[in-house]
Subunit: 136 residues, 4 copies
């Protein structure tokens, strides 16, 4: 299993008139969490696209336990439980500044070769970086 | 069962560098679909908040079957299958201009009294409007 | 001079915790207004990009006279005062449902050849469509 | 004069199909820059709203010199040139990772008492924090 943790501060633009973070903005938080967790691993998502591989989202689901509010510094815990193959699954838990769980979610993405449009395996360099976390 | 249909044209701001609608923007499409389907029924969501009731989202899930592209006129079919009580569940199917299914999703929302912060039933006027669709 | 008028309904996602449309969302409204005003003229912006021409924004400015609120049906009046050449300037006036002026703005865009990255003139078909409005 | 500097990493959600940061997203960057520059000064914007003062935007303008791209770590230099009274003016310069100037802008905001809806002066604590930068 690979785990990582990312902090995001809520922007004013992300609130709505209920005074909470708009429910649609969590998907962007998840994406930042994915990208930063890969960067923590040593891999830049940007490089992936430069190598002709993209990662379209297949499924995304979210449970909203408590609202997030403006200016809160949220902590997103990201987990990858099973070894990434043609698909990769990210699990998220978001905690507020009082360390209360406010949001849980999950995203399934595919690796797709941009030129052929076909599913593919993660690049070897990425597989090598994941290797120590999914052995045995 | 209550069914309704809503059209949304993809904005440039909603695309990302993959050339598709960013996956996080479907939640806003769903929200427009909910609001317009209620308006088609005869109910303005705005009135609900003015009456002191809000509808926070509890759960949201999405499957991405095909990408949506800039300027496409999407058709969102919205269904409410079971009679709304303290919760209401919306199901969505999004079709592109070639009538291909590109996206399916589901949102569970609560009715909450803004003053007490407690779950509540939908306002009577809303229940009356739903009544013909959930009888028998 | 070419004038056109476009209607946009404020989405919940576009409000912020002040209860107004977030100031950053007017740029997306302007873009919808530009695209729809060109469509009213007979030209699809999408076609432009397919022909290898893009229109990056050079300058944008906005004055916020009154707030816009959730669910309001806004009317955006769009004007092009001078004949588009390598640049095109759009002027906007946004009115709320009570016909009060809430927002004025202006955007300057360039026509750029995607392949060379160089400024270019609008495609001939677009120039022909503009012609009747800028003669004499 | 008060100056501050803020870093923002471009999110995937902020790009558009041209492959650049969507022009409408700079307003949110400016807002983050304002909030963080005030935090660097010792003042939380959140506190302002809690004290019943809000800061609606009156005017905003932007010049786009070069595109910003996905994952770039942008540096926003924020300046307040004249002592804030019932209005405050922020100037921005955004630099990319190669230290090239990509964007300049300016925002004029008012201080407004939420209860009366009338313009007001900044809270005393904020005036005191600004004092050393605008003396003489």
């Amino acid at each position: 299993m690979y785990e990582s943790s990312v902090k995001i501060r809520v922007r004013y633009s992300e609130t709505d008139q209920m005074g909470y973070v708009y429910y649609g903005n969590y998907a962007a938080y998840y994406e930042v969490a994915r990208v930063e967790s890969l960067r923590n691993l040593g891999f830049a998502y940007k490089e992936l696209e430069m190598q002709g591989v993209m990662m379209p989202v297949l499924e995304n689901s979210t449970k909203f336990h408590r609202p997030a509010r403006y200016d809160e510094l949220l902590t997103i815990k990201v987990k990858i439980v099973s070894r990434p193959a043609v698909r990769i699954i990210f699990h998220y838990e978001i905690y507020n500044e009082e360390n209360k769980l406010i949001n849980t979610g999950e995203t399934i993405l595919a690796f797709v070769n941009m030129h052929s449009g076909r599913p593919c395996r993660p690049p070897q360099v990425m597989q090598d970086l994941f290797d120590p976390y999914f052995n045995g």
